[in-house]
């Protein structure tokens, strides 16, 4: 059985009288150490899937097993624990604490992991260095560019050394050069640390870094292709 096992998961939002189907019943198996790109037009349900995979949201139907544990059967705190220890999430909208410095934003997952202040600081500094934000540690998000904020968000996803990284358009605000650096970082994590990476992107260049591409259209998977290793 895979690290991530989705069996017929779907998501329907009901807005008063109309129901919006954000995700068709979808089945998906992802093994440990895979590197997956999810592509598809805007509104096709990519973020919806990511939220479910990240234990942030619950599917309307179907079962989702993470590491053989059924996520639907867990309580709030157990799900929080999974988000804290197993998943590094890069949000599409960054979701940084605005009145808090970059380093403290990066430290946040460690705060809820009970690490000592000293170790938190150490690991956050390392993570910020990896995303090329040395010297910006004590800037607040509103003192950083969009690309820099995005990199703080990526550093926060790296800091807890989670076995799975879910990144929703992690390079959306980055220039080609920085994008390439971040992607190299992901590739390195994937090949050397065997971290499972699932990222959403609109750019074929970025998707090219992955080993498997899943395409979405109107909430359904339309293609799922594993790249032939050349």
């Amino acid at each position: 059985m895979g690290l991530i096992e989705a069996r017929g998961i779907s998501k329907t939002y009901s807005l008063g009288e109309v129901d919006v189907r954000a995700l068709c019943p979808t089945s998906l198996t992802i093994e440990a150490a895979e590197f997956i790109a999810i592509m598809g037009p805007s509104g096709s349900g990519k973020s919806t899937l990511m939220n479910i995979l990240g234990c942030l949201d619950k599917p309307s139907s179907g079962t989702y097993l993470l590491d053989s544990v059924e996520a639907g059967g867990l309580d709030r705190d157990q799900r929080a624990e999974i988000r804290n220890k197993k998943i590094g999430f890069v949000f599409q909208g960054f979701n940084l604490l605005s009145r808090t410095s970059a380093i403290e934003n990066v430290e946040l997952p460690l705060l809820y992991d009970g690490l000592s202040a000293q170790e938190r600081r150490q690991r956050a500094l390392t993570a910020l260095k990896k995303v090329g934000l040395e010297g910006r540690e004590y800037h607040h998000p509103n003192q950083l560019s969009g690309g820099q904020q995005q990199r703080v968000a990526i550093a926060r996803a790296l800091v807890n050394n989670a076995p799975i990284i879910l990144a929703d358009e992690p390079t959306g605000n980055l220039d080609t050069k920085t994008s390439a650096e971040i992607m190299d970082l992901f590739v390195d994590l994937n090949t050397h640390a065997k971290i499972t990476i699932i990222l959403v992107t609109h750019e074929p260049d970025i998707a090219a870094y992955s080993k498997r591409i899943i395409r979405f259209l109107d909430g359904c998977i339309v293609s799922d292709e594993v790249k032939k290793t050349e």
Binding site: L56, D57, K85, N95, R99, L108, Y112, G114
Partner: protein
């Protein structure tokens, strides 16, 4: 595992973002705690004063007055028609086993002159027993004696107020003063006693032998009569028995048959004062309760602001939850925030309460006592208020759905 020091740091930072709001929220608690402390200080001060006064008039005291106290028809107030005699007081002392001592009283106001100074004061004829009945010592000289009473000699004891007005800082013992133009030798000076429960200056007094008062100063149509007597029972438990023994003895001595009314009244002074003390206690509790209401209102203010804060920071809560904050991480963050508000408010309130009490003592002349108990009580209470009123907003915050909280605008 919850990281308390970090949570406290987060809470303090959140409070500092809205300094004005935090300060105004604290103000509610400051006023509440300040009011509790000041009110309890006023109440405790009043009680303390009354119990001081109780001990100043002497303990286990009964007062026997001429005339009846029972109602019925038009009658003169007790003490107006003399019915008690010196013989009665001696008989009580001799025959009532539960009575320790008796001091007869016959007095009035008189003009007192020393050199070119004069003073109008209460002159009381009594026996040396007065000092033991009222637990009163002399600050200088000696008391007059039973022999002085027998011989109706012209000696007197002066209260400190009289000394101050006639002698200033000179020691009056041995000097001769004139009471209603009659020369009296000062035998001793009474120790300072302060105010009576009725607010009178107990030191504005002159004691002379009762016989001298009867014969020379306040001679009445009823020779040998006294106006009242002060009786000291052996113990507090003996008070009631003394009352009965005295009544029985006096009825017998005055030949009052069972159908007739008493021509005297026995009053239990201690009991009366204890009733006053009791009512002051009730007043203190009442004042404290009213002040607690303002503390409660301050608590509601905290809850109000915390609810606003939770709504404003929905996204922040969502982010924290998304990276792994658990129910109690979020709850504790907001409870600690409320607790910091109420505790700082509590400390400031204690200072305000102390200042107000001090000001009342200084400017209004009230006797105020800030007991450590009231400080601990109100500080503890403000902490409880913080936790109590902080819990609901914290609880609400912890129940947010992470994904919805993240989408909140």
């Amino acid at each position: 595992m919850i990281n308390v020091p970090s949570t406290i740091r987060i809470s303090i930072r959140a409070l500092r973002v809205n300094k004005m709001r935090s300060a105004l929220t604290m103000l509610g608690i400051i006023i509440g705690v300040g009011a509790v402390i000041a009110m309890l200080a006023v109440g405790t001060g009043a009680r303390q004063k009354i119990s001081e006064q109780i001990s100043s008039i002497g303990s286990n005291l009964l007062i026997v007055l001429s005339g009846a106290s029972t109602s019925g028809g038009i009658r003169m107030g007790s003490g107006t028609r003399p019915s008690l005699s010196l013989g009665d007081s001696e008989a009580i002392k001799r025959e009532c086993p539960s009575v320790q001592d008796v001091a007869p009283v016959l007095g009035g106001t008189a003009q007192v002159v020393y050199g070119n100074l004069n003073w109008s004061t209460g002159v009381t004829g009594t026996t040396p027993s007065m000092l033991s009945v009222r637990d009163w010592q002399l600050s200088s000289g000696r008391s007059f004696t039973e022999d002085d009473v027998k011989g109706a000699t012209k000696v007197c004891l002066l209260g400190q107020t009289v000394v101050d007005n006639l002698f200033g800082s000179i020691d009056p013992v041995g000097s001769v003063i004139r009471i209603e133009k009659i020369p009296f030798t000062v035998a001793g000076v009474l120790e300072i006693k302060g105010q009576s429960p009725g607010g009178q200056d107990q030191d504005d007094v002159i004691y002379v032998p009762i016989t001298t008062a009867q014969k020379k100063l306040f001679g009445t149509a009823f020779p040998g009569m006294i106006r009242m007597m002060m009786v000291k029972a052996r113990t507090a438990e003996d008070l009631f028995r003394s009352e009965q023994e005295i009544a029985e003895l006096l009825r017998q001595r005055h030949k009052i048959n069972p159908k007739q009314e008493d021509d005297f009244t026995v009053r239990n002074l201690t009991q009366m004062l204890q009733a006053t003390e009791q009512s002051t206690k009730v007043m203190t509790i009442l004042l404290g309760a009213i002040a607690s209401v303002s503390l409660l209102v301050g608590g509601i203010g905290i809850m109000n602001i915390m609810l606003v804060s939770v709504t404003e920071r929905t996204r922040e809560i969502g982010i924290r939850m998304a990276v792994g904050a658990k129910t109690w991480d979020i709850r504790l963050q907001f409870i600690i925030e409320a607790l910091i508000l109420s505790m700082i408010g509590g400390i400031a309130g204690i200072l305000v309460g102390l200042a107000v009490s001090e000001a009342l003592a200084l400017f209004a002349g009230w006797s105020v006592i800030v007991s450590p108990f009231s400080v601990i009580l109100s500080f503890g209470f403000s902490g409880v208020v913080g936790i109590f009123f902080g819990f609901y907003p914290a609880y609400k915050a912890s129940l947010l759905d992470p994904i919805e909280a993240l989408r909140y605008e």
